[in-house]
Amino acid sequence: MDNTTISTRLTEQFGARIQRFDSHRGGDLVAYISAADLIDVATFLRDDDEMSFSFLENLCGVDYLGRTPRFEVVYHLLSMKNRVRVCLKVGLDATNPTVPSLTGMWQTANYQEREAYDMFGIIFTDHPGLDRILMPEDWVGFPQRKDTPLGYEEVAFTFNQAQIDAHKPFAKE
């Protein structure tokens, strides 16, 4: 099954609800959809006999700071039957990055959505336990957002030179 078949079937089924098509540099089809249509499109791709994208391969967030929409959640669905991959991209607002959770359809979305929440602050509604997963639970902020600095530590003994000197009996030897 080639990309044209997938895009034709998607257009037939959803019409203008598919905002536009694109492709990865490697050739996989990319479909841009809105958060409201995510469950419908994913259900169609999973349950349609011809499509049978039965495996949620990957889910991750991307922060395009300075663009509208700022956030993007990238889903990769895999059809083991047709040996083809399709990518869904959902653009999300900077002020309210909310998207329905896919945990009801694929359990594998659980950890991956928790990671996207942890790193980008994307809220997945109806997720059974949207807690931080990699960062400590009391962490403030979302580390993989582009406006979070890398946070280098100052080189030891340069920022507190005075303090060190004060403790030395024979300072500035």
Binding site: H24, R25, G26, C60, Q107, Q112, L134
Partner: protein
Amino acid sequence: MTIIDHSLSVPSPRSITEPALAGKTETMVLNMGPHHPSTHGVLRLVVELDGETVVNVAPDMGYLHTGIEKSMESKTYQQALVMTDRTDYLAPLSNNLSYVLAVESLLQCEIPERAQTARVLLVELQRISSHLVWLGTHALDLAAMSVFLYGFREREQILDIFEMVSGARMMTSYFRVGGLAYDLPEGFFPAVKALTDVMPSRIDEYESLLTNNIIWKQRTMGIGAIDSAAALQYGMTGPGLRATGVAWDLRKAMPYSGYENYTFSIPTATNGDIYDRYLVRMAEMRESVKIVEQAYTRLKAMGPGPWQTSDRKIAPPPKIEITESMESLIHHFKLWTEGFKPPRGDAMVAIESPRGELATYIVSDGSPKPYRVHMRAPSFINLQALPHMAKGQLMADLVALIASLDPVLGEVDR
């Protein structure tokens, strides 16, 4: 008699520790790890127990989170490669491969036959060495100590080959965008030959210790079973999925690096329990030896040749050219000071790592640094199936179960 809920779900630690969310009050909550020898790293498990029976278990991770994906965004494509070694530290070459294939997909660059064959040979050696660590530690967890020592004998031999080609035993960074870091050294072929000659008999040796061992069978057969439908729901890939009977292997299903030209089979099993995962991995090692042998023959027949792309915008020119050509000097300078600039766009490449499907998703904004790198880490995703498999098992079996999933915490936490 404990009533155990087998419906599909992935519990979070909070659902066990918070009294408002936890189901039972007469059960005991036990903390296991993060510093526990049988959790294979710094994995913490919150276990809800009824006597010795596991009622619920929730993995808690992040103790090894080093922000690798974030750090890669501030490095050039060549520099970021080095960080991939540190995710799955038992299979650095597989991580290298997934990353360089993704960048090569962004650049749409072709790499020479010799480099491709060498890559296949080395990742298969990596699969064997990774499986040997799994085998040794798995047996060690079930108190069979000698397998560990036997396994590490051959692993050492493989690491010597890695040291020979890359200069490092573990953090190899040997695959580079556009080919290899250096040409295969002298002495590489005899070393590979020496390994492939002994390996089949050595695998027999490991199997003679375990496969029909009554204690091993009692500890592993019928324990932690999962069916293929549930495994797919949890996103399991790799030997864990194949042990349930699904013959899904990216090397066959969606070949990369010329895997379509090699003859090998995909070992599967039917029960999806710990013993079957053991059988599948043992058979996989034998298949890997076959692939190594084929790649070896090809490389031998090919003779010396280019081992990186001739596109000077991606791979540096040879040293000798720099002394003779101004153009080469400029290319060299540009590559080391600025790096190369893939066109805008994104790419996703998945490979079959020893643990399952390792995919790299890269977004390029046209600059010499990746805008976003995401790794679909198989250990991280396979771990979601652990609670499902552990429910109703004994606490001691949980240890065997973790080992059979073969998680590498460097990859789980990234």
